[in-house]
Subunit: 312 residues, 2 copies
């Protein structure tokens, strides 16, 4: 029997999702379980193995080419998860090795945004592209840069942190200890912070004043209803993101920038402004060339598909 | 006889330099001629061919593997020089094709900074490195980004324009039509502009006030003599460059950044500040990892070596 299947695992701060994927990108079986509530990574893997067996009836290496894992702060070269602030484990966790030993399969790990880039390249909007940027607009901002058909990992495996490029010099304090990082503005938490700051400083009427707690989704919905305050938030967020993307384009000159994650669901309400401000800030040779694309992979499956694509 | 030689041509705004290089990176013969004063690219090539014959006694394709050409605004994919403001020819010049036909040799063209990156990778400080950035600090700022052992060209061949990343939002007007580009600050012309602006605004005593015209070299020499104004110029220039490099590191995570060109000769007078401000602005995972290296290739030969390295 040929090894026609891959296991994809997406380790998130709250939940771990997994799926069995064939070479055409079809998810044959899937499941999830909480990431938290396990004393050690080893207990976590035991629970994961049990869930896998329940859902799949057992993983045979006759049929499986390997397992791909996407995780925040995952390092492709070492297979380690390194000081991930949103995961329950401290320090450095050799997750690829632990999972490989537990499942007796080849295991490849990378960070979640790089896994998403693999997913787009293998099954999604970046099929056939050799140069593109994948950006996740979620709780934070993640990115995977692809050049010459390969992920840019850098010498240490940590390349592609567009979320921590300084978008606003001396700007908002970031969790990383510095100021003005892109993800303090252009993520789901960033747009909520913009809204909260503006509400304190200004007196605009807005249906958002009744939202407790205020979420990026509520801002998106208010913008859809034509709420001026919410529309202005979209424009401001799009401006910061567009300006920063113009600089990134000057480095890797991508064919497309593909957006994924919660805030990306705002669609044209956000991307119209991203495009305008990116184009305004682009060097002439790059103007009107770079496609901005919203990921077409189904939200719930994309992370699994991306992780599984690591195997091929 | 084996094809053990390459011809390297560096097309600059004032002069064109060429050399015959063997696989060990030794320049066997070299020469130069003015780039300007020829009516068309075809007249230019005729004159170049004549100079080549004078210096080399004729180029035989039994011995030559090809010709590599470095030129401002050179495009690797198309072999064209595209709207180069500092060259005498307007519009798009299919230079690789013209030279290939004139010399009856395979011709490969890229921009001058990318050629310098090839030179460092083949013969210089980046030997054995798979991930680095080459930066030329000359009249402008050029850059070549190498990831996974390959130059990043982008989808259109125009990647690697770090000189036109916005270093100062709403900053100095740039020749490209935008404001605040890195090369308005961190090039030879940039540091002279800083000096000129400061002299108008401030009353500092400085030996630079007697320099007419003021040059980057004079600023470097004044700094060497301990002139406070010149030292402050080095610090300011190093700060802007260091801040911008911190953002570039977050994208490609290079093992080293290699500096080349006139302003790079300022050495530690400049790079001490580049390092301090880059490290201050780096995300934790990148701190104390990135080497800053001054190119060790001889100034006069590096461009020829870089161009010739395209052939191998």
């Amino acid at each position: 029997m040929t090894q026609e299947l891959a296991l994809g695992i997406d380790i998130g701060g709250t939940n771990t999702a997994f799926g069995i994927v064939n070479r055409r990108g079809e998810i044959i079986a899937k499941g999830k379980m909480p990431t938290t509530g396990h004393d050690t990574p080893y207990h976590y893997i035991s629970a994961l193995k049990q869930r896998l067996d329940e859902v799949t009836g057992g993983i045979s290496h006759e049929r499986f080419a390997g397992v791909g894992i996407g995780a925040p702060n995952g390092n492709f070269y070492t297979g380690e998860i390194v000081f991930a602030p949103n995961l329950p484990w401290q320090g450095v966790v050799p997750m690829a090795r632990i999972i490989s030993e537990a499942l007796n399969l080849k295991a490849i790990l990378t960070n979640d945004a790089n896994a998403a880039a693999y997913g787009e390249m293998t099954y999604g909007a970046a099929k056939g592209m050799k140069d593109f940027i994948l950006i996740t607009l979620g709780t934070g901002v993640g990115s995977g840069f692809v050049a010459n058909g390969s992920l840019i990992y850098g010498h240490d495996g940590f390349a592609g942190e567009l979320g921590h490029v300084i978008a606003v010099r001396n700007g908002r304090k970031c969790g990383c200890g510095r100021h003005g990082c892109l993800e303090r503005y252009a993520s789901a938490t960033g747009i909520v912070q913009s809204a909260t700051e503006w509400m304190k400083e200004r007196n605009d009427a807005s249906i958002l004043r009744d939202e407790h707690p205020l979420t990026a989704k509520a801002i998106h919905e208010a913008a859809e209803k034509g709420d001026k305050f919410a529309l202005e938030l979209m424009e401001y967020t799009g401006m910061i993101l567009g300006q920063t993307l113009a600089d990134a384009v000057a480095i890797t000159s991508p064919e497309a920038i593909i957006f994924f994650g919660g805030l990306a669901n705002a669609g044209d309400l956000l991307f119209t402004h991203v495009r305008t401000h990116m184009e305004d800030n682009l060097l002439n040779i790059y103007k009107n060339k770079v496609k901005l694309i919203q990921s077409a992979l189904p939200d719930s499956d994309a992370a699994i598909l991306g992780a599984s694509a690591l195997v091929w």
